[in-house]
């Protein structure tokens, strides 16, 4: 096997040194009754070219070449090539958690920079080293809020990513949390009247997303005031952090649960991505996940270490703030490089392009007979297109033209029939957008003749 650095002669010599006649002897402790007496029925071995062929064949069975307007928590942005070039350095990607800081300063300093960038981006005071993704960052943030507040009731906006809410329900069951849904208003934003009704002094936290699942920007500052009146914490999920190049940061939220995929990670059919929590310094000891901190070495030089580990499972076991161990460090590194490449100017320019392109597309689509923009709230790069025909018919029609038109919302929101969640980013050229609009126009014109 080409990865194994040993010849049979060396194996023999090693066995001799150990004092074994055969390698079988080393497995003597495994009772015969449970030994596998046949070769595994798995494919392979394949040579390197065959492996490439196999995966290239699979890639061709997917949708490459399609023009896509899919967002909903996963965004396609230009990824500067330096991101992969640097993250591919073996010293980064073949290291593990920097338990031994003296030979892990590269990872540690990068995490420290990641934490800082996330704070700057979100307007929060501290951030952790990463969590699995946005969908698990949400329950972690809720559990954290429950821990801080010692209350068990949590209001969650219906406009928060449906799959995130599903994950939250799963986690909540184990923890015995009480999750209640907060409806959205006609504008697409959180229904403030409902919030006023539902919020009470047993409420640990209110969890919203901004821009929310419909692309609508929430008024975080106002919602935060509401929450704080009841001593509830405001949790703000951020799904599309590129928006923070322009949008007022959720500084007034108490915890930000952010999905970093948009910051330099490919869609990759759903992962790996990177979650992160940002919050106020005073909550640090309730925070789950690793933290890198600055310190000095015995000669007074600046260095970085993992710190406040008494929150973590390897020290506190069943009393830890979370069971997380392996996180998404390499993804965090990639977003760190991405944010550094775009930098202060570029993050704004990138956000501006998304805004301009999405608004161009929305305004052109709004002119199509049989289509309108469903919600009135301001949006960033994603919006809901309300159709006069079934969304599936239109999707189908456009797929034939190699366009993936968006995500039919009825799947997640039975009340939102004939509506499509459309995402437009800087990667779409105007010609793409015009082709899309023309296709939608044609499909809408045909639609009455469609099967629904």
């Amino acid at each position: 096997m080409r990865y194994l650095p040993k010849s049979d002669a060396e194996r023999k010599a090693m066995l001799e040194r150990i004092g074994c006649a055969s390698v079988e002897e080393l497995f003597a402790a495994i009772p015969g009754a449970i030994r596998l007496r046949r070769p595994l029925a798995i494919p392979g071995p394949l040579s390197e070219p065959e492996i490439v062929d196999f995966f290239q064949a699979r890639a061709r069975e997917n949708a490459s070449g399609y023009l896509r307007f899919l967002g909903a928590g996963v965004y396609s942005h230009f990824r500067p090539v330096v991101v992969d070039a640097l993250a591919s350095r073996g010293e980064f990607f073949t290291a593990y958690t920097p338990y031994q800081p003296e030979i892990s300063q590269g990872t540690l300093q990068a995490i420290f920079e990641f934490q800082t960038l996330i704070c700057q981006l979100t307007g929060q005071e501290i951030a952790n080293a990463s969590l699995y993704d946005g969908s698990t960052a949400l329950p972690e943030s809720v559990i954290m809020a429950v821990r801080i507040s010692d209350r068990a009731r949590v209001l969650v906006a219906r406009s928060l990513h449906p799959e995130y809410r599903q994950v939250l329900s799963t986690y909540a069951r184990g923890q015995g949390l009480q999750i209640e849904e907060l409806p959205y208003a006609a504008s697409g934003q959180v229904d403030r009247e409902a919030l006023a009704r539902q919020l009470d002094d047993r409420t640990a936290a209110v969890a919203i997303q901004s821009p929310n699942f419909f692309g609508c920007v929430e008024d975080v500052a106002a919602l935060s005031r509401f929450c704080h009146e009841h001593n509830a914490l405001l949790i703000c999920a951020i799904n599309e952090p590129v928006s923070l190049g322009l949008l007022r940061p959720p500084a007034e939220a108490d915890i930000v649960a952010l999905e970093g995929q948009a910051l330099g990670l490919p869609p990759s059919y759903g992962g790996p991505y990177v979650g992160v929590l940002a919050t106020k310094e005073r909550f640090v000891r309730s925070m789950p996940g690793r933290l890198a901190g600055q310190t000095t070495d015995s000669e007074g030089r600046r260095g970085f270490v993992l710190t406040l580990a008494t929150r973590e499972q390897h020290i506190r076991r069943e009393k830890a703030t979370s069971n997380i161990c392996t996180n998404q460090a390499l993804c965090a590194l990639m977003t760190t490089i991405f944010m550094t490449v775009y930098g202060k100017q570029g993050m704004r320019a990138l956000a501006e392009q998304n805004l301009a392109k999405a608004h161009y597309a929305a305004s052109e689509l709004a002119k199509v007979p049989g289509a309108r923009i469903r919600f009135s709230a301001p949006f960033f790069n994603e919006f809901v297109l309300q159709l006069a025909c079934p969304a599936e018919a239109l999707q189908q029609r456009l797929a034939e033209q190699k366009i993936l038109a968006g995500i039919a919302l009825e799947r997640f929101y039975p009340e939102l029939k004939q509506s499509l969640l459309v995402c437009v980013t800087e990667t779409h050229a105007r010609a793409d957008l015009d082709r899309f609009v023309a296709a939608v126009r044609a499909a809408c014109a045909e639609a009455p003749r469609g099967k629904a």
Binding site: I18, T94, Y132, G245, V341
Partner: protein, 511 residues
């Protein structure tokens, strides 16, 4: 460093500040095509109150500075690519380069989780192929690839136990965990709402069956066991253990972190496990990435299949694949989308590269390497549990402690010899643990150097204990002050020179 540290040599590397310290207004590294649609005024379309002025503090640097910054940072890391990384329980094996290539292919990395399944058959076939291979390797009946890491898999598994027992009428309250277990096991049980009761190990370093029998009541939901356990010792009575657990209606959860000792030799499904999580970043070579991403698939026996997270992959008779969401008994989702797909690609590539004989050879070599080290260090370091070990061996610092040299000192000194240290943090049942897992990826030369290094350090511990206690001596930074880091945490860079008095970052205005 004298000649004794033969493997290592010092080398000059340029120092490097924080990226924020290199920033200067006006520099930039990004580029975008010119905007080809009408510009919009953010304040107009979003409302002035929703627009920020700037991202205060964000760096402004050029591309070459970014290349140098991260290149330099990388050189202060140690990785598997640098040399032996015998971090016990972490299975730091070679991360094949071809896996990185295929995971980045256009048509895989570019695919969106919400594209129609008809246009994602390639992705789904990869997932299905991986599922099948993992089921065969574990001897289980059904599987989810959704969990993002081992601990996430543990939570998934324990929530399934809970759902299963709830469906049977009583979720029960207790999870039993051997005292040698990894910290994630009790943390997971707690996260799922269970109380934890430790099961003590016997002198052979294995689960004490009498203790288990006593603890295993009808209030116990599951036993979370690791096999081979964290001492590297195979639980020889595993089928008896399973019987005890099953007899009381409990579920046997297997932490599969140590599958590298078993694959091809024996299967969890064949020795009584009802649930097993795998760490693809351990056994199946997906890179550890400085801490992640990982992937923690969970495989189960038939009776637990209805409880698997949503959605599950379903194959039609014609071989078309789709996601099945109609699963009323499911615990629900544990993660958005379908898990860390990029890691699944890599793990499948690893399995395809090896095939059946290859996987078996990996297991054999991993166990051979570990026993070779054990042989080389026996008599030099204390071996608290003398039972045979498989893929890893846990020594202790007992002999060296007499000279005031502890496991952490020895670990640090290993760096001077050019090696990454072993695991020091656990198993907790071994005071001063030295948990060494070489994996199959080490050649004899590297093992010999490692053994030599640890033997030399043992000698130093007797003759020059201070040399060891103040190690490392050759690294970019010396021992770091973790106590102050904990007491006065500095968790982010701040532009102004901050008083060292304590943690008081000025709250960032939302401008």
């Amino acid at each position: 460093m004298g000649d004794s540290t033969a493997k290592a040599r010092p080398h000059v590397t340029p120092g490097e500040g924080l990226i924020f310290e290199k920033s200067s207004p006006g520099k930039h590294a990004y580029s975008l095509p010119p905007l080809d649609v009408p510009e919009v005024q953010p304040e107009e379309v979003l409302g002035a109150g929703f627009v920020r002025r700037e991202i205060a503090g964000f760096p402004e640097v050029s591309e070459i500075e970014i290349i140098r910054h991260f290149t330099r940072l990388s050189t202060w890391n140690y990785g598997v690519d640098t040399g032996m990384y015998p971090l016990g329980s972490c299975t730091m094996k070679y991360n094949p380069r071809i896996n990185e290539v295929v995971a980045r292919l256009e048509g895989l990395a570019s695919e969106h989780p919400y594209q129609p399944t008809e246009l994602a058959q390639g992705c789904l076939k990869i997932l299905r192929a991986l599922e099948k291979a993992l089921l065969e390797i574990t001897g289980m009946d059904a599987i989810t690839l959704q969990p993002a890491a081992g601990a996430h898999g543990e939570l998934t598994g324990i929530l399934m136990v809970q759902a299963y027992l709830t469906a049977k009428g009583n979720p029960r309250q207790l999870v039993l965990i051997p005292d040698s277990a990894h910290g994630t096991n009790p943390a997971t049980a707690a996260m799922a709402g269970y109380n934890v009761a430790p099961v003590k190990s016997n002198r052979g370093g294995q689960v004490d069956l009498d203790a288990l029998r006593q603890l295993m009541t009808e209030n116990v939901a599951a036993l979370m066991i690791t096999n081979p356990n964290t001492l590297g010792i195979f639980e020889e009575r595993i089928t008896d253990i399973a019987e005890i657990v099953h007899a009381r209606g409990g579920v046997l959860y297997l932490d599969g972190a140590n599958l590298n000792a078993l694959a091809g030799v024996t299967r969890p499904g064949d020795f009584g496990a009802d649930i097993v999580h795998l760490n693809l970043h351990k056994t199946f070579s997906t890179p550890h990435g400085g801490g992640g991403p990982g992937a923690g698939p969970v495989a189960v026996k038939k009776f637990l299949e209805p409880f698997l997270p949503l959605p599950v992959l379903q194959e039609s008779p014609e071989g078309r694949l789709r996601w099945n969401f109609e699963r009323p008994q499911s615990i629900g989702r544990v993660r958005a989308f379908y898990g860390n797909f990029g890691m699944h690609v890599r793990a499948l590539a690893y399995i395809l590269a090896h095939g059946p004989e290859g996987i078996l050879q990996v297991t054999r070599d991993a166990v051979l390497n570990s026993n070779y080290i054990r042989k080389g260090l026996e008599g030099v370091y204390d071996l608290p549990y003398p039972s045979p070990t498989l893929h890893e061996t846990v020594f202790s610092d007992k002999r060296q402690a007499r000279f005031g040299v502890r496991t952490m000192d020895i670990a640090k000194r290993l760096m001077d010899y050019g090696f990454h240290p072993y695991t020091v943090a656990f198993p907790l049942i071994v005071p001063g643990a030295m948990m060494i897992e070489p994996t199959e990826s080490e050649c004899k030369e590297e093992l010999d150097l490692f053994i030599e290094a640890l033997r030399a350090i043992a000698h130093e511990a007797e003759t020059h204990p201070d040399l060891v206690k103040t190690a490392p001596h050759t690294t970019r930074v010396r021992r770091l002050d973790e106590v102050t880091a904990n007491r006065k945490p500095i968790l982010r860079w701040q532009p102004a020179p901050r008083p060292s008095a304590g943690p008081a970052p000025a709250p960032e205005p939302a401008d």
